[in-house]
Every structure is written in structure tokens, then in C-alpha cells.
């Protein structure tokens, strides 16, 4: 099958001069990608003290997200510097879904980088749903103790339809869906703070991935939820 390829590139390079001009206005980007096609997006959003990078590639998936960039110290009612949020899910059709993302967030002398991958065989689309979410808030001053905090969270939720159960299996078996996420953190000069983290951890098949098969049950009121989560704050 040949896919139509659409490439969308967004870039918002704001320096302190433009922020002075635009302040106190916030800069708001809304990102929506829909379609039975291969779509990729990459963007870097930053102000003087914080930045986030978003890179997504998806095939037969829908996604939406936004980025709000404030002046570095935030404004009344918006006590943060950058707020980015996004989600994606597989869409219908008879073609496989492939989704990957790579998110970076920098501030306070540290950079975190996280990736997510989803693959789903088309046979499972009617009985399984995968949803990816992430959110990063940089330069958050609403802690009440004068502290400035940065956070990033990411999750993948794989839920079966009522009447179907999921079970872990090998990626060599089909039809299945495979999901996984990674996380890295770096200090000044790019020094890693610890080894790369994986959710799920490495399995007996030699891969840090969760592959799920689906099984129908006689009980039409049961379903399963497989949730992968990563959270960080600094």
C-alpha cells in the first residue's frame, strides 16, 4: 500500500527581543494532524529561559496538541513559561497504525528527552484503542513556596473493548499492538543524569516493548487497560 506523504513543519523561534514586543501577549500554537497518511511534524518552541521540542511521525493516526509560550516569568493568571500538551490515537481503516514521538524540554540547567512508539495491526482496530498523551509545563511559579518547577509527563493507554482481553506476547506474533516509551535526562554540558529509562522494562524477548494480543471472552462486560506512564519534575 502506498501512502500519501504530507509533511508539516512548524517552527517558532522567538528571541527575547520579539518577546518584549509581544509581551504581555502569549503565543499559542494549535497543532492538529488527521488522516490516513504518513504525517510528520517537528517544531522547536522557546523563550529566553525555557524550550521544548516536538517531533512526531504518524501513519493512520490522529493527533492534536498545543503550545503556549509566555514571557519567561509568566504572567498573572498564567504562572508558567511554556505549556505544551498533545495527544494521539489510532484511526480506523484497513492499514496498520504507526506512531512515534520525540519530546524534549529544557530549563533550569537540565534537559529531558522522551520518546514514544505505537504500532497496531489493522485487525485489532475494532477491539483495541491506544491513546498517547503528554504534557510539559516549564517555569511553573505556582508552587506557593517561591520555587520554580518544570514537569513533563507522558502516557500510553491501551484499552480493549468490552468483551475482549489483552495479553502480553511476542512482537513476532500477529495481529498485535506494540507500545513503548523511553526517558533520558541531562545536566549541564549534556551529562546524562542516569541511564536511559524504559517503560516497560526489557522483557524476555530482548526488547523494552509491550506487545499485546487480544482475546475474546464469553463475558461481554470485561475489558482490560494497559497503562504506561512516565513523570518527571525538576
Amino acid at each position: 500500500m502506498k501512502f500519501k506523504v504530507v509533511e508539516l513543519k512548524l517552527r517558532a523561534d522567538l528571541n527575547i527581543v520579539s518577546l518584549r514586543v509581544l509581551a504581555p501577549l502569549m503565543i499559542y500554537f494549535l497543532i492538529v494532524m488527521i488522516g490516513a497518511a504518513t504525517v510528520s511534524l517537528s517544531g522547536t518552541f522557546y523563550n529566553s529561559d525555557y524550550s521544548t521540542g516536538i517531533s512526531q511521525s504518524e501513519e493512520n493516526a490522529n493527533s492534536a496538541g498545543f503550545v503556549v509560550i509566555m514571557p519567561s516569568g509568566g504572567l498573572d493568571g498564567c504562572p508558567y513559561s511554556i505549556w505544551a500538551d498533545g495527544s494521539a490515537c489510532a484511526n480506523g481503516g484497513n492499514a496498520p497504525t504507526k506512531f512515534s514521538s520525540f519530546i524534549t524540554a529544557s530549563g533550569k540547567g537540565k534537559t529531558v528527552a522522551t520518546s514514544a512508539n505505537i504500532r497496531e495491526d489493522p485487525e485489532l482496530k475494532s477491539v483495541l484503542s491506544e491513546k498517547w498523551n503528554y504534557e510539559t509545563i516549564l517555569g511553573n511559579t505556582a508552587q506557593g513556596n517561591g520555587e520554580v518547577q518544570c514537569t513533563l509527563s507522558q502516557s500510553i493507554d491501551v484499552k480493549s473493548a468490552p468483551g475482549y482481553l489483552t495479553y502480553p506476547t511476542s512482537a513476532n506474533i500477529h495481529p498485535t499492538t506494540t507500545v513503548g516509551m523511553t526517558f533520558q535526562a541531562f545536566g549541564k554540558n549534556g551529562t546524562p543524569l542516569f541511564d536511559m529509562k524504559y517503560v516497560p522494562p526489557w522483557n524476555e524477548f530482548g526488547e523494552p516493548l509491550l506487545t499485546l494480543g487480544v482475546w475474546p471472552t464469553e463475558y461481554k462486560n470485561v475489558y482490560m487497560d494497559n497503562k504506561l506512564e512516565m513523570n518527571t519534575k525538576w
Binding site: 537540565k110 529531558v112 468490552p162 482481553l165 489483552t166 495479553y167 502480553p168 506476547t169 511476542s170 513476532n172 506474533i173 516509551m181 526517558f183 535526562a185 545536566g187 543524569l193 542516569f194 529509562k197 524504559y198 517503560v199 516497560p200 522494562p201 522483557n203 524476555e204 524477548f205 509491550l210 482475546w215 475474546p216 471472552t217 464469553e218 463475558y219 462486560n221 470485561v222 475489558y223 482490560m224 487497560d225 494497559n226 497503562k227 504506561l228 506512564e229 512516565m230 513523570n231 518527571t232 519534575k233 525538576w234
Partner: protein, 218 residues
């Protein structure tokens, strides 16, 4: 010549005995490929044995062993997979076996079998899965597969239907989880959690995987 052929077959049988007990927590998986060729004068025996996999269990006491016996003389072919795990919920076996016995210049005898079987439970069961395939010497098309599943001290027997495609016997046995024969679903048994935390230089990280089963009110 026949004696030599039998010797060759005995060697093959010895080599086909696959007995690999495994002790592991989490899932246990096998993926074997086995090719063998024996030739004595103008007689030969060729075998292939591949793509066999058992995935099962979450308990540290998981134990599986597999055994494949082929006896062309008696026409008996047995494949046996035993699974013993107090917290197991999935047994998956896929096997494909091919044997060719022949004499140069003559039409060889081929035997090819594919087996797929699944047993999925919500946990807390002991199972013994025996897959027995029997073939008559004269008529290689006659075969059956019987699976014995022992659960809570009771043994249930299932017979897998045979499908013939291009002279290949294919057996598929899919046991529905939560069969009526078995107990009610124990949702607590399906919960599985993984969590990891790390901290360095003022940065805190946590990662987790949660697998849960739910039941809606009807």
C-alpha cells in the same frame, strides 16, 4: 538397507528429543529452529523443526518443558508441552515439523505438521498441556490431537480438529479464557504492576506500567 534406515531414524529420534526445562520469572519463550539430514548409502532422512514457542506465566516458579518424538516405524508422532505455574495465565504453542524419508531416485515420503494451541486463563491455575498427535503408518492423513488440561485437580480433555492444506496437517485448538467449565473470572489476578523511580541532581523520575482488568456492571 532397512536396518540402516531404522538406525538413521533412531539417531533422528534421539536428536529430536527436545527437553529444555526452563526456570524463569515473567514470560518464558522459545523459538527453535532445527534442521537435520542423515544419509546412509542411497537412503536419507531429512527433518526440519522450527518456530516453536511457549509463552507463559508470571510466577518465579514457571517451568515448562517440551518434547517431540517422531517414530516413523510405529507411525507415532508425539509433541508434548508441559506447563506448571501457579500464577500462569497464558500458554501459547506453535510448532511446525517436517520430515522427509526417501531413497535416491524414488519418491520420498513427506510428513508435515503444524500445531497452534492457546490456553489463556486469569491465573491461579496449574495446567498440564499434552499435545499428542498420532499418525498411522499406512495412511498419513489420519491424525488427531488431544489436549489434556488439568485445572484445580480436574482434567478436561479437548480434541483439536485437523485441517489438511497441501498435504500438511494443521491443528488449531483455542481454549477460550474463562470457559464455562472453569471458575468465574478472578479480576485481581490479572493486575500487573511495574514501577521504577530515579533521582539525580534535583530531578525526580518515575515510570510505571499497570495492567488491569475491569468488569462493567451489567
Amino acid at each position: 538397507m532397512m536396518t540402516r534406515g531404522r538406525n538413521a531414524i533412531e539417531v533422528l529420534i534421539a536428536m529430536l528429543l527436545v527437553m529444555t526445562p526452563a526456570f524463569a520469572g515473567g514470560f518464558v519463550a522459545y523459538n527453535h529452529t532445527f534442521d537435520h539430514f542423515i544419509k546412509l548409502d542411497d537412503e536419507y532422512l531429512k527433518s526440519k523443526f522450527y518456530d516453536m514457542r511457549i509463552v507463559s506465566g508470571t510466577g518465579p516458579g514457571s517451568e515448562t518443558n517440551e518434547r517431540f518424538d517422531a517414530n516413523v516405524i510405529t507411525g507415532l508422532t508425539n509433541f508434548r508441552a508441559n506447563l506448571s505455574d501457579n500464577n500462569a495465565y497464558l500458554a501459547y504453542t506453535k510448532g511446525k515439523y517436517f520430515i522427509q524419508a526417501g531413497q535416491e531416485g524414488k519418491i520420498p515420503i513427506n510428513k508435515s505438521v503444524t500445531v497452534n494451541s492457546y490456553i489463556i486463563m486469569t491465573g491461579k491455575f496449574d495446567s498440564i498441556q499434552n499435545v499428542d498427535m498420532h499418525f498411522s503408518e499406512e495412511n498419513l492423513t489420519q491424525a488427531n490431537m488431544i489436549i489434556n488440561l488439568t485445572y484445580n485437580g480436574k482434567t478436561y480433555q479437548f480434541e483439536a480438529p485437523e485441517t489438511k492444506i497441501d498435504n500438511e496437517s494443521i491443528f488449531n485448538l483455542f481454549l477460550q479464557p474463562f470457559c464455562n467449565e472453569f471458575e468465574e473470572i478472578g479480576l485481581d489476578a490479572t493486575r500487573s504492576d511495574y514501577k521504577e523511580t530515579a533521582s539525580s541532581d534535583g530531578l525526580d523520575y518515575s515510570g510505571s506500567l499497570t495492567i488491569e482488568a475491569f468488569r462493567n456492571e451489567v
